[in-house]
Subunit: 329 residues, 3 copies
C-alpha cells in the first residue's frame, strides 16, 4: 500500500456538489459564482481549490476569503472574491456541521470487523479488536486484543498496535455558545487517522481523527503507552514518544523528534526536526529543531538547568544583603 | 430520563434495616435507640437522616456523632446523642465493609450486555461494549466499541462515550494497617457513576464510582481522552477538561470550569465556577471561581508568569551584588 | 500458587541449547568453549550462569564479559574469559533478536481465553477479557471486562484487575540505526509480567513485559487508574500509586513506597523503602527510602517548599538593591 502525502486530505465528495444544492440544503444565501462545484470539505489551514470552508469570526474573514477555498460559508454578506462562492448564513458553524453529517453519516456497526474493511496479507488481528467501516489495514501488521479502529482509518504495512489502543475517535473541538443551556456545540469531524508503515503504538494510546483533514503518524515512528495525539496532528517519521505524552490538535512534529515521558505539547505549533524534549516538560509554542529542551514552560535544557541552580542561590544572595547579625531562614 | 440531584445519594436499602439485625450481623454492641431503622449507607460528608456511617479515628468522633447519620459504627463506647444508635465494635471499617458486601454483592456477568440494563430509545451501542447489571442509559446516546460500564451506572440522554472508556470502577480507597502482611485494606464501594445529559467522554477516560455516594458528571460537560475522575467527584455543568487531566476523589468542580491538558487536581477540594487552569498545573487546595490559574502548585496565572520572569533576573541581582571584577556564572 | 522471587527470571529454554547450534543459527563465529550449553536468555543487569547475553558497545564490553553470562554475543573478537563462549558477529542485536523470535515465537490467538491458560478456583473473569497463551491466574481473582492479558503473564491469588487494563505488552525498547530509513530497530522482548497476591490494578493501567526478565508487582500493592509501568520494573510489596503515575523500564521501587498522582519515574533507578513522592513530581535518579519528596526534578519535600517561598522573595531582594526612587516591578 502506497500512502502519498498529497492524497491525505480526505474529505472529498464522491462526486462534486453544486453550490445551488448546498444553498438549498443549508438555507444559506448564495453570493458570487452560482455555478461553482464543491469537491470536498477542509480546514482553513490546509484548504485547496474546490474545498468548502467556513468562517464565523470577523477577524478571520480575510484569511478565509483569501484562502484557496472555493466555497465559503460566512455569517455576513461581504464582497465575494472572483471565482469563489459565498454561502451567507447566520450560523456558518451549524451549516457546516449539517453538511458534514450529510456526507459522512455515522454508520452503526453490527460486528467487530466490518465487511467493508480491507485487511492486507500477513496481517494478524487478535480477538476483541473492532475494525470499523471503510478501514484499510496494510500487510504484516499485528493488532493486539481490544483495540478499536474507528471508520475510515488507514494503516500501513508492518504496523504493530498494542492492546486497548483507540484510533479515530472524534476531534475534541467545540464552539462555545454561552447563551445556551448546553454551551459546547460539537464540530462533527470528518477527517481520518493515517498510520504509516513500520509504526508501533503502545498499549492504551489514543489518536483522534482530524476535524476534516487527517491525523498522521509518520513512517517508523514509535509511540509508547497512554499517549494522546489530538485531532489533525501530523507526526513525522522516526519519532520516539515515551509513555503518557500528550500532543494537542493540529500540532506538527517533524521527523526524528524525541519526547520523553509525560511531556505535554500544546495545539497549533511546530516542533522542528530532531528536537528532544525532556520528561514532564510543557511545550506552549513552536520549538526549533535540533535542540534539547526542558521545563514547563519549556526552555533550552541547559539554560533551564542553570536557572534551577540559580534558584538554589537565592538564600546566599539574601545573606549577602542581610549580613547575619540576626539569622533569618 | 430525569436525573434529580436530590436523588443522587444512592446506596439506599430496598427496605429499612433494623439496628438489631445490624448488631447481630456485625457483632457490634448496640448503644442508644434499639428500635431505629437504617435506610441507607453514606459517607460522613454527605450523610442524611436514616443513613449508616462509620468512624474509627477519635478526632472525627464529634463530626460523625453530630452529623445527620442515624446509625454510627464506632470503635469506642461514647455517649450516644438523642435519636441515634451506636454500633460499638473494635473494627468499624470491617463491619462497614461487611454490610456493604451484604447489600451490594458482586454480581458476575455472563454476557456483554446485562438483561437488567435499561437502554433508551435511539441509543446505539457499538460492538464490544460491556453494560453491567442495573445500568440505565438514556435516549439518543452513542457508546463506541470496547467501553466498560460497571453495574449500577446511570447515563442520561444524548451522551457520547468514546472507545475504551471505563465507568464505575471501584473507588481507590484503602485503610492502611501497618501491622498486617497485606497492609492496604479495601473500602468496598457501593456508590455509582452518574453521567448527565449531553456529556461527551473521550477515548480511554475512566470515571470511578463513589465510595457510597455518586460520582457525577454534570450536564453538557465535555471530557477529552485519558482523563481520570476519582471516586465521588462531582463535576458541574458545561465544564471542559482537556486530555490527561486527573481529578482526585470527592473533588467538587463547579460549572463552566476549564482544565487544560495534564492538569492534576487533588482530592477533597472545590474549584469555583468558571475557573480556568492552564496545562500541567497542579491544584492542591480549593480555588476561587472566575479566575485563571497556572503552576504546580497552582497560583494566579499572572502572578505565576511574573514569578517566572523574576527567576530569570536572579543572575542580574547577583551581578549587582558582585560587580564583575571576577566573572561568575 | 507460590511465586518464588528466585524463579522469576523466566526466559529459560525448555532444554539446554548448544553453542554450536547457536553459532550456526545466527552465523556467528564461535570463540572460547565450544561445548557450552546455554539455558536461557537474560539482560546484563541480572544474568546468571547459563544465560545468553549480548553486547554491542565497546564501553560495555568489560561489564558483559565479567558478568555471570555464559554465552556472550559480541561484535568484536576479544579475549574470551575462562568458562565462557563468545558468539562473534557484526550485529549482536539482530542475532539476539533472531534467537528470541525462534524460542518465543508469537502465537496468534483464536479466542478470548486461551486453552493453555490455567485459571484458579474461585477466580471470576468478566466478559470481553483476553487471556493469552500460557497465562497462569491464581485463585479468587476478579478480572473486570475488556482487560487484555498477553501470553505468559503470571497472576497470583486475590488479585483484582479493573476494566481496560493491559498486562504484558511489548517492552518499549529500540536500537537506533540512523543510517536506515526506518531508524528504530525493535528489541523483541521475551520477559513476562508477574502480579503477586493481593494486588489491585486500576482501570486502564498498562504494565509492559520485561525485555527478557520479568516486570513484577509485589504482594499487596495497589495501583490506581491510567498507570504505566515500564518493562522489567520491579515494584515492591504494599506500595500505593495514585492515578496517572508513570514508571520507566527497569526501575526498582522498594516496599511501601507511595507515589501520588501523575508522578513520573525515570528508568534504571531505585526508590528506597517507604519513600513518599508528592503529586506531579519527576524522579530522574535514585531516591533514599523513608523520606518525602517533591518537585520536578524531585528534591526533599521540605527543601523544595522552602525554595518555593524563597522564589517569592526575589522582588524583595530586588527592592533592597534598588531602593524605590523609581519603582520597578
Amino acid at each position: 500500500m502506497v500512502l502519498l502525502r498529497q492524497t491525505y486530505n480526505y474529505m472529498q465528495f464522491e462526486q462534486p456538489v453544486s453550490v445551488q444544492w448546498l444553498s438549498e440544503f443549508t438555507g444559506a444565501k448564495l453570493v458570487g459564482d452560482h455555478n461553482q462545484l464543491a469537491t470536498g470539505i477542509n480546514e482553513i489551514h490546509k484548504v485547496t481549490k474546490g474545498d468548502i470552508s467556513f468562517v464565523d469570526f470577523e477577524k478571520y474573514y480575510d484569511k478565509c476569503l483569501n484562502s484557496a477555498a472555493t466555497v465559503i460559508i460566512i455569517n455576513k454578506e461581504v464582497a465575494c472574491p472572483d471565482g469563489k462562492t459565498l454561502l451567507v448564513i447566520n450560523d456558518p458553524f451549524s451549516a457546516y456541521v449539517k453538511i458534514v453529517k450529510h456526507f459522512r453519516p455515522f454508520e452503526p456497526a453490527t460486528k467487530m470487523i466490518s465487511d467493508s474493511a480491507v485487511i492486507g496479507e500477513g496481517t494478524h488481528i487478535q480477538p476483541g479488536v473492532f475494525v470499523g467501516n471503510h478501514v484499510r489495514i496494510g500487510e504484516h501488521c499485528l493488532i493486539h486484543p481490544n483495540v478499536t479502529i474507528y471508520d475510515h482509518c488507514v494503516i500501513g504495512n508492518n504496523v504493530v498496535i498494542h492492546a486497548g489502543v483507540v484510533l479515530g475517535a472524534d476531534a475534541f473541538y467545540f464552539k462555545r455558545r454561552k447563551e445556551r443551556e448546553v454551551q459546547y456545540d460539537k464540530l462533527v469531524s470528518c477527517g481520518r487517522v493515517i498510520i504509516e508503515d513500520d509504526v508501533e503504538i503502545g498499549a492504551g494510546t489514543t489518536i483522534d481523527k482530524g476535524v476534516s483533514g487527517d491525523t498522521i503518524i509518520g513512517k517508523g515512528t514509535k509511540l509508547d503507552n497512554h499517549i494522546h495525539i489530538g485531532h489533525g496532528a501530523v507526526i513525522g517519521k522516526n519519532c520516539l514518544f515515551a509513555a503518557q505524552v500528550g500532543v494537542g490538535g493540529k500540532a506538527i512534529i517533524e521527523d526524528e523528534v524525541i519526547l520523553w515521558g509525560q511531556v505535554g505539547v500544546s495545539k497549533d505549533l511546530t516542533i522542528g526536526k530532531g528536537a528532544v524534549v525532556y520528561a514532564q516538560s510543557g511545550v506552549p509554542a513552536s520549538l526549533e529543531g535540533g535542540k534539547i529542551y526542558f521545563g514547563s514552560p519549556v526552555e533550552d535544557a541547559k539554560s533551564k538547568m542553570r536557572e534551577l541552580s540559580w534558584i538554589k542561590r537565592i538564600p546566599e544572595l539574601w545573606e549577602k544583603l542581610n549580613p547575619p547579625v540576626k539569622d533569618e531562614e
